[in-house]
């Protein structure tokens, strides 16, 4: 199968929809609270982003595998149990191996449980589709969250701290933009990011009802 044919296959379209045009952050506007909170430094953004990628892909695939067993009226509680198990595992892993990043992320790792991308993909996709497609769907959506965090994290760390991955990249007399390290400053940056992203992805304005 050549590359052009791959672009028309169902798995590829499933992945790329979540990854680009139907981006979890810029199109579905999900997970914004944590986007603002943890994109202040690149290392936090990477740790949090990878945590979300892990939780979304694993839990979406598992829900898809179990979808015929899950009693319909206990769907939500099943999502919660599966999601929180993996979130706690991520939290423990960070605490054991990256304690400083873990303490900087504070409560936000635990709050992946309430990140709408996780339950959104489970309810919108995994419960109706097979494990492989659900894995790709979760991967696409969560990778869009990861790269959004990373892009914002790079800009915010350079402007707000003058460093990148804690290595100084700006001259020592560069005045740090304190406002960009706070959530308020992140809103401005996020708005500009939306504008650029929607231009690049050629997204039309939402249709008015």
């Amino acid at each position: 199968m050549n590359l052009r044919r791959i672009a028309y296959t169902r798995p590829w379209r499933t992945f790329i929809a979540g990854f680009f045009k139907e981006n979890a952050v810029t199109y579905q506007l999900l997970g914004l609270c944590s986007v603002l909170a943890v994109s202040n430094k690149l290392e936090n953004a990477i740790a949090m982003g990878l945590g979300v990628v892990f939780v979304v892909t694993i839990s979406s695939s598992l829900i898809a595998l179990m979808r015929k067993l899950i009693p319909p009226q206990y769907r939500m509680i099943t999502y919660m149990i599966v999601t929180s198990t993996f979130v706690i595992i991520v939290d423990q892993f960070l605490k054991a191996n990256f304690p400083l990043i873990s303490s900087q992320l504070g409560p936000y790792v635990g709050l992946i449980i309430t990140n709408c991308i996780v339950m959104g993909r489970q309810e919108a996709f995994a419960i109706k589709n097979g494990a492989w497609l659900s894995f790709l769907d979760g991967l696409g959506s969560s990778m869009s969250y990861l790269y959004t965090l990373v892009i914002l994290g790079i800009i915010r760390e350079i402007l707000g701290f003058g460093t990148l991955l804690n290595v100084r990249v700006m001259p020592l007399d560069f005045p740090p933009w304190v406002v960009i390290t706070m959530a308020q400053g992140a809103w401005f940056l996020l708005a500009i990011y939306y504008w650029v992203f929607r231009r690049v992805a050629k997204l039309k304005p939402a249709e008015q009802e």
Partner: protein, 193 residues
């Protein structure tokens, strides 16, 4: 819905719960030693910093061994470094536990400094209790009587500390915890002598 269906649903939830608990226990036992090591490092380096003793990542254990003495009495333990007494505190905050260390003069009459090592207060509001700028308000306050929160004015009395606007409950929690810690330490130290 018939009984069999209900029982099957119940079985599903029970199995899911058991599997999830087993995975969590495995994760916990994997991370426990590393978490313990991190807590020990955090405590020792913070005690050294609070005592004003220089340390590096490589030698803080030896420096701690050499310069800090652990004393116990009445079921409490505290550290003595030069003329300072350092005591670990732990208590309920608004959402979770607040842990930290408080440093006093040798007779435990005044607070030299307070450091918060871990907390789970509201991000952006209550979590400001961990900021050194805020904790500086505890410096030099009395340790012989309970502290009060200055709610509508700037703290000026020796037993008053500032509140954080928007986070009165978290500020109050820390004040209560530090006061209780000072009282416990004074009692234990008094009985030890």
């Amino acid at each position: 819905m018939n009984l069999k269906r209900k029982l099957l649903d119940l079985l599903f939830i029970v199995v899911l719960g058991v599997v999830s608990v087993a995975m969590l226990l495995a994760a916990q036992s994997y991370s426990a030693p590393a978490v313990r090591r991190f807590r020990e490092t955090r405590l020792k380096t913070n005690v050294l910093t609070a005592a004003g003793i220089p340390w590096t990542q490589a030698d803080f254990r030896e420096v701690f061994e050499r310069q800090v003495r652990e004393e116990t009495g009445s079921g409490e333990a505290w550290f003595v470094a030069e003329t300072l007494v350092i005591y670990e505190f732990r208590g309920r905050g608004l959402w979770g536990m607040i842990e930290g260390i408080a440093t006093f003069d040798s007779a435990v009459t005044h607070i030299a400094s307070v450091r918060v090592l871990s907390q789970e207060e509201t991000p952006g509001l209550g979590d400001r209790i961990k900021e050194p700028g805020y904790l500086a308000t505890y410096r030099g306050k009395t340790a012989t009587e309970p502290l009060d929160l200055a709610l509508r004015h700037k703290a000026s009395l020796p037993n008053e500390v500032d509140a954080i606007s928007g986070a009165t409950l978290s500020s109050q929690a820390l004040v209560t915890i530090v006061s209780a810690a000072a009282l416990r330490l004074r009692t234990a130290k008094g009985e030890a002598q």
